[in-house]
């Protein structure tokens, strides 16, 4: 199956271990990717400070139009922020004809137009619904043997439409983890926001949010936390020492992408494919112990 992969700005920098692991895993599962030609940033969740709503819509409509012009594949947006920006604008344009005309009159600056024929998907959606857990299980050569994982979904990867999972109590990530023979721990804070795009400027306030999430995971027995968003990964991983300093805690729990766990369970190379060496809190020992290496 062919898809557009819209990896966005973060996956080339702070989220490089997401992109590096996602590609070999998805290729092993028979997926093929194309890049949207000359794509631009989605605007993420903070552009409203400088841009009005129409400008942010145009930003995303340009990507949709460039994709539609090339082929009629679904777009996979692994970054949850890209996903929510794009799926939202896509729905609005599909459902509102006058908005579509208005946006198209602006896209015409570059001879572009978007007719609304593309579907925007999250990677969890595609893995669960297009590939399926049975198919995934068939690729598992190094089962994670009951490794206790807290599957952190975050807020933007399922919302606002809940197209493939419940917006209040998502289960898809846990099911994907089970397919790897990991044991997802109960984790009520799996949909609590980590501070998202305003973490950096509001760090003093957001450290508390992340502390609560880490605490919930650890107290439910998690040895490792999995995520599907570069912002979640960054906020959960990079500030643990600050949190420890501020709150007197002693968090030191690795944060990995779901696709990194998949690469490990698929018996792939821990460095080249799972890209574990990019993680700042090293997950190697825990994962090697789980797969019996």
């Amino acid at each position: 199956m062919k898809y557009f992969l819209y990896w966005g700005c973060s996956l080339e920098a702070s989220g490089v271990n997401y992109l590096r692991s996602l590609k070999p895993v998805c290729e092993a599962l028979g997926m093929e990717f194309e890049e949207i030609p000359d794509w631009n940033c989605c605007g993420a969740s903070v552009s409203y400070a400088g841009a009005n709503d129409l400008a942010i819509k145009v930003l995303n409509a340009r990507n949709l139009a460039l994709a539609e012009k090339k082929a009629n594949y679904d777009i996979i947006a692994p970054c949850s922020s890209c996903y929510i920006q794009m799926i939202k604008v896509n729905h609005e344009i599909q459902e509102n004809e006058s908005l579509r005309e208005r946006v198209n009159s602006i896209l015409a600056e570059d001879g572009l137009a978007y007719n609304g024929s593309i579907r925007v998907r999250h990677i969890q959606d595609v893995l669960f619904n297009d590939i399926g857990t049975e198919q995934i299980k068939r690729h598992v050569t190094k089962p994670l043997n009951g490794l206790k994982v807290a599957g952190y979904v975050g807020c933007q990867s399922v919302r606002p439409y809940g197209e493939y999972d419940s917006v209040h109590n998502p289960v898809v990530q846990d099911k994907l983890l089970e397919a790897l023979d990991a044991k997802p721990v109960p984790f009520p804070k799996k949909i609590q926001c980590c501070g998202s795009g305003i973490f950096l400027p509001e760090m003093d306030l957001c450290l508390g949010l992340v502390r609560d999430i880490l605490d919930d995971a650890v107290s439910h027995g998690a040895e490792i936390i999995s995520t599907v968003c570069p912002m979640c990964a960054m906020n959960l991983e990079m500030y643990q020492d600050r949190i420890n300093e501020k709150y007197g805690t002693d968090f030191d729990i690795p944060i990995v992408y779901l696709t990194q766990l998949m690469a490990v369970a698929f018996g792939m190379d821990l460095k080249r494919d799972a890209a574990l060496h990019h993680n700042v809190i090293p997950p190697e020992n825990i994962l090697k112990a789980a797969i019996g290496n």
Binding site: S10, A13, V46, S47, Y48, A49, C155, N279
Partner: protein, 196 residues
């Protein structure tokens, strides 16, 4: 309490006409679901529900200076819980944009960060994380910039060592010129206005 104040329609009209998604609050039934949803609610002066009733009561200054409109983390919890299906987040972002465009920077760091983010998209079409943080840190001048950078330097070095920072600066996308003219047009004709 703001709920006892008599209805003053002029500010509400201003919001409906000039703030992106502003008209959406007409359907609000003041149930408070959204107010209980914000992750940073403990730090907010007026949660969304109260902001919306203050708009109806014409409390212009209080609304535009509220810290809450700039403390939205974009978690969408409000939107999936609101019984009236109001896109609360879009209204909060619309209000923040409107306030910032009037020069009100109640949460200065967040407003500056968001503005730098947007300006970088306008400049290159994409975001360069390291350049964004540098511009954000130094937006307040060189001294504050050095102080903020030093606080974050350790983390920057760690990320660099783990290959999680791009070494080369982000190149402009090929269609940057036409992207800019699209964005200019959207900023000129969009409801939320352009005075940034």
């Amino acid at each position: 309490m703001e709920t006892n104040t008599s209805y003053d329609p002029s500010f509400a009209r201003e919001v409906f006409e000039n703030v992106d998604s502003g008209e959406e609050i007409k359907m609000c039934m003041q149930c408070g679901m959204c107010a209980a949803s914000c992750p940073l609610r403990e730090h907010m002066d007026y949660p969304p529900r109260q902001i919306f009733s203050m708009i109806r009561a014409g409390k212009r200054d209080m609304v535009l200076n509220a810290n809450s409109i700039m403390m939205c983390t974009s978690c969408y919890t409000c939107q999936v819980r609101c019984p009236r299906g109001i896109p609360v987040i879009d209204v909060m972002h619309g209000l923040a944009h409107y306030a910032i465009s009037k020069g009100i920077l109640t949460r200065k760091d967040t407003a500056v960060f968001g503005r730098e983010f947007w300006q970088q998209i306008y400049k290159t079409g994409r975001i360069d994380e390291k350049d964004l943080s540098r511009r954000y840190f130094f937006a307040d001048g060189i001294i504050t910039g050095i102080k903020k950078s030093l606080q974050m330097a350790r983390m920057g070095i760690i990320m660099l060592l783990h290959g999680r920072m791009k070494i080369l600066p982000e190149k402009k996308i090929k269609g940057i010129k036409s992207l800019r003219s699209m964005l200019d047009k959207a900023m000129q004709t969009g409801k939320g206005g352009s005075e940034v």
